[in-house]
């Protein structure tokens, strides 16, 4: 089917996202008075859904998969469209549509919501480009294309001090890590003479005396990845940014933006710095990622356990989940038979995470919209007023904790089993222990909502509005989280096929 279309159409998902963003910006510029929040949100959501539909169609048709002749490369090898990129684009597009739908109600009284929709779609376009990047230059440009709208989005409530402060912190850490990342790229370019992944890989195989410089460059690139995925040691912006940002933005950053960091990491470290060549040049990035994964998941979970505010807890839990997903890189071994399985499991985890984590942050968005407060105590008794939304939140919490009736169980299970099969039993054990710890703080939310009483008898009276679109987004994410349990087969199989093609 794809043969009938010109090759550039393989970029259709990214193009659809970008064109929708441009269209929204255009309408907003031409007719700033008569735009309506609802029509903007509908157009934005339709654009993201169209992108999702095309992505799913491409996956089903086998575009760029190993069965149909491998990745489709464009622009002198700078871009490659394969199953891996389509898989991640599906995550970006579904998170974007959820966030855009939810934002309709969240920004119902904002003076200029149109900017939100176009910025979100531009960031999503950047993510879709990251997923197809096949050259370090494209990676950097796309990374900036994700980051710049994100800074603006975090500071979107410009009259809110918390939001502006978060935006500034995010911008400073982001600028620093971009510089580090770029310097890393230039060092790698200096020793390998190319930016195209395949040529970099060839250069890594014959480094000679320059191995040290390449090593420093790779460590710097690891730093850039750590920033984007909110992993240790560049994680500390995440709690501030997620807490201060409007909750739909937090949802977008912690789900989609994190996944975007991982698609870069997965592709760059398998394609540009293949494990065998790197290890023989004494650049053992697997060990680096192993340490990062262990520290990230432990730090994220322990910090989440002591939070008093739900949104901040979710921010730290998202650091913890970055640690789990890093297992996809940390549990690789040169020539290991289970490499595709463990990386595919990490991808499937990010896919499920895209729904359960977005849903959880959108529930926080709903709580902010209602004005019920931010702490665990202030969530007390919420289920009496909003049973459906609270049930959805309970689904997200249990799924994030990895309890079996929900999709989060399978994705974690396959991840840990993949690690064990590849000989990294210590990572799997640490992950399991962290999962147990996480049950404590996730169940606190459920306990507050369902078992506790409201802080004051009138505390729940602020729940007067029924934000339909927010409700729809939250419930849809919950249904997806449940249905991904029976429907996990296609997800994990696609992910493993996509990951196996990298090795």
């Amino acid at each position: 089917m794809y043969n009938a279309l010109p090759p550039w159409t393989a970029l259709a998902p990214a193009l659809l996202l970008g064109l929708t963003g441009l269209a929204l910006l255009l309408v907003d510029t031409i007719r700033p008075r008569s735009r309506s929040n609802t029509s903007m949100a509908v157009v934005g959501a339709l654009g993201a859904l169209a992108s999702l539909a095309v992505t799913v169609w491409f996956v089903a048709a086998g575009t760029g998969s190993a069965d149909t002749g491998g990745g489709i490369t464009l622009f002198a090898d700078a871009i490659t469209v394969d199953t891996l990129s389509l898989f991640f684009t599906a995550i970006f597009a579904s998170v974007t549509s959820l966030v855009v739908v939810a934002a309709h109600d969240y920004f119902h009284d904002h003076e200029n919501p149109a900017a939100f929709y176009s910025l979100t779609l531009f960031a999503a376009t950047g993510m879709a480009l990251l997923a197809v990047a096949n050259s370090l230059a494209v990676v950097f440009v796309a990374l900036e294309m994700v980051s710049l709208p994100s800074y603006a989005l975090v500071a979107f409530l410009k009259t809110n001090r918390g939001s502006v402060e978060a935006g500034l912190k995010y911008f400073l850490v982001g600028a620093l890590s971009s510089a580090v990342f770029l310097f890393g790229i230039s060092l790698v370019y200096a020793v390998t003479g190319s930016l195209i992944f395949a040529e970099v890989a060839a250069g890594i195989g014959s480094l000679g005396d320059l191995a040290g410089i390449a090593g420093i460059g790779i460590v710097m690139i690891v730093g850039g990845v750590a920033f984007k995925t909110a992993s240790v040691p560049f994680h500390f912006w995440a709690p501030e940014a997620y807490e201060g940002a409007p909750a739909p933005v937090s949802a977008f950053l912690s789900s989609a933006s994190k996944a975007a960091g991982f698609v870069v990491a997965f592709r760059v470290f398998t394609e540009a710095f293949p494990l065998g060549a790197s290890v023989s040049a004494e650049i053992n990035w697997v060990l680096a990622f192993g340490v990062l994964a262990a520290v990230t998941m432990t730090l994220g979970n322990f910090a989440a356990a002591v939070q008093e505010e739900v949104k901040r807890m979710l921010a730290y839990s998202s650091i913890g989940h970055a640690g789990y997903a890093l297992i996809g890189l940390a549990a690789l071994s040169a020539g290991g038979s289970g490499n595709g399985a463990v990386m595919g499991a990490a991808m499937a985890h990010l896919f499920v995470y895209g729904f359960m984590n977005t849903g959880a942050f959108l529930f926080v968005a709903m709580a902010e919209r209602w004005g019920v407060g931010r702490t665990f105590e202030e969530y007390g008794g919420l289920a009496r007023r909003a049973p459906v939304a609270c049930t959805a939140m309970a689904v997200f919490m249990f799924s994030l904790a990895g309890l079996p009736p929900f999709a989060g169980f399978f994705s974690k299970y396959f991840l840990f089993m993949g690690a064990i099969d590849n000989g990294f039993i210590w990572l799997a054990a640490l992950g399991a222990v962290n999962s147990v710890i996480s049950l404590y703080y996730y169940s606190r939310v459920v306990k507050a909502m369902f078992l506790d009483d409201p802080t004051t008898p009138s505390a729940l009276d602020t729940i007067d509005a029924r934000p339909t679109a927010l409700y729809a987004a939250v419930v849809f994410a919950a249904v997806a989280t449940v249905l991904l349990l029976p429907g996990f087969g296609p997800v994990i199989e696609t992910a493993e096929a996509a990951a196996s093609a990298l090795f």
Partner: protein, 510 residues
């Protein structure tokens, strides 16, 4: 397809009841829950299983569809029944409608959610007893915990939050331990299994498929897996010393939830012990027979002594469950036809009797609003029928012949006394039998103080006869207990048929 229909219908019924108005959610839930009961009776009438489902017997209503295939092992939707699981399925579908009726009086807030969760739990319980694939089974097993957590935590007594969280933490930690134990077995089996289907794994272990795993010898892996799984399931059963969540959960849970907790949820633990520990790893079980039998006897005696010391009627029944579950463990570990069969029979019998006891105490509580032994006396004057059934149930607990409890305990003692594989079997059996004396002691004394003598009540409530819909489920349960006591063969025949291969599993190898 009848099992799929049963489970799917119950899930749908839960959804319908969740969305129904509170005013008639209870009636609707009862009407809908009658359908799975009818379905399980139909399944019973069409039952054509033979032998044990895990050891190559004929599985009734077997159906299998592949779900996920990853890393060379497939996970499938695989359900079926044998002589061990069918009685438990019937028990579940029988108890749930009765528990729902018993909830009509005490549950007066958020009814649609309450009944919806009850049905949701029933659907998952049916899944636990029918699933023959480890993953499918584990999903159902864990999914039972979530509704239970809410049922205790939302509708429970004053300390409900503590009890709900304790229950949740204990059982989840136990599940993790068990999960790790089982997975280490699967890893050690390596390429000799291609799925998580329990019959295939059982066969592979029996054929010596266990290999080295991370340099650990196969025997050690099997022993470690046995211990991890035993510890995990022991929490669920529960046995001393991991029983402490049970009295809290029972006392705080509302009556209908206690009925299902004691009647069915505890059986999940013993059922899983039988399936995993005693059928899959019979040699490890037999090698550890003495410590396990000691745990069983300690549970019997210590549980009964704890019951003796309680003042709260519900606590008394709760601790006596610990005691009764000890008999089940003893029956399993002796590896005789009557021991294993009797243990399975005792699961059903205890499900009915403890359900009856909790329900009867609940009916008394509905009227008096107290469960303390010292707060009331002479209840027989005011509630003659309820008290009559309560006394009958208590005698069933003590093992009065012609009631189900007698049959179960008798089978276990017969099987245990001359057990060839358990050293000092007569001594263990005699000690366990002594538990019955203590049971009689505390039940008779509690009844003497609360039910008989001149009427006296410390709380300020007008006590009259209980409504018909409170008493009817008690009468139905009592009738079922007597039927099973008079004619145990209605279940015992098929149970024995499925138990014999378990017993042969050990004697063939030792």
């Amino acid at each position: 397809m009848i099992l799929e229909a049963l489970i799917a219908f119950t899930f749908l019924a839960a959804l319908v009841v969740l969305l129904a108005p509170d005013a008639w959610a209870g009636r609707l839930a009862f009407a809908l829950s009658a359908v799975p009961f009818a379905g399980s009776l139909y399944a019973w009438s069409q039952f054509d299983g033979a032998g044990n489902a895990l050891t190559g017997g004929t599985i009734a209503f077997e159906s299998q569809f592949e779900w996920i295939e990853v890393g060379g092992r497939s996970v499938s939707w695989f359900v079926g029944l044998d002589g061990i699981s069918l009685p438990l399925v019937v028990l579940t579908t029988f108890l749930v409608p009765l528990a729902i009726v018993s909830a009509w009086t005490p549950i007066d807030t958020r009814q649609s959610q309450f009944y919806g969760l009850m049905l949701f739990m029933e659907a998952n319980l049916l899944g636990v007893f029918t699933a023959l694939d480890f993953f499918l089974w584990f999903v159902f097993w864990e999914a039972v915990l979530v509704p239970m957590y809410f049922l205790i935590g939302v509708w429970g007594g004053p300390r409900r939050k503590y009890a709900a969280i304790k229950f949740f933490v204990y059982t989840n930690a136990a599940s993790l331990l068990m999960f790790i134990g089982f997975m280490s077995l699967v890893f050690a089996l390596g390429d000799s299994v291609s799925s998580f289907a329990l019959p295939e794994i059982t066969a592979a272990i029996a054929n010596g498929g266990l290999g080295e795993w991370f340099g650990i010898a196969p025997g050690t892996v099997a022993l470690g897996a046995f211990l991890a799984m035993f510890a995990g399931f022991a929490v669920k059963v529960p046995v001393v010393p991991v029983h402490t969540w049970l009295p809290d959960a029972h006392v705080e849970a509302p009556t209908p939830v206690s009925v299902l907790l004691a009647g069915v949820l505890l059986k999940m633990g013993t059922y899983a012990l039988l399936r995993y520990n005693f059928t899959m790893l019979p040699n490890q079980a037999s090698a550890l027979a003495i410590p396990i039998a000691a745990i069983a006897v300690i549970s019997v005696i210590y549980g009964a002594m704890l019951a003796l010391a309680q003042k709260d009627l519900k606590r008394i029944v709760a601790y006596s469950s610990v005691s009764s579950m000890g008999y089940v463990i003893l029956g399993l570990v002796v590896f005789t036809e009557y021991g294993v069969g009797g243990a399975t029979f005792q699961m059903v019998a205890h499900g009915l009797i403890s359900g009856l006891m909790f329900m009867a105490v609940g009916v008394v509580y509905n009227a008096t609003h107290t469960r303390m032994v010292g707060d009331m006396a002479g209840m027989a004057d005011r509630m003659p029928i309820t008290v009559g059934i309560l006394v009958a149930g208590a005698f069933g607990y003590m093992g009065l012949p012609l009631m189900a409890g007698f049959a179960g305990e008798f089978f276990i003692f017969v099987g245990a006394f001359g057990a060839p594989s358990l050293p000092y079997a007569p001594a263990f059996t005699a000690l366990a039998m002594f538990g019955i004396v203590i049971v009689a002691g505390y039940l008779l004394s509690a009844m003497q103080k609360t039910l008989f003598g001149p009427f006296r009540l410390e709380t300020d409530y007008e006590v009259g006869r209980a409504p018909v819909h409170d008493v009817a489920p008690l009468a139905v349960l009592l009738a079922a207990i007597i039927v099973l006591g008079v004619a145990p063969d209605v279940f015992f025949e098929m149970i024995r048929d499925a138990a014999i291969p378990v017993v042969e599993g050990v004697s063939a190898d030792v």
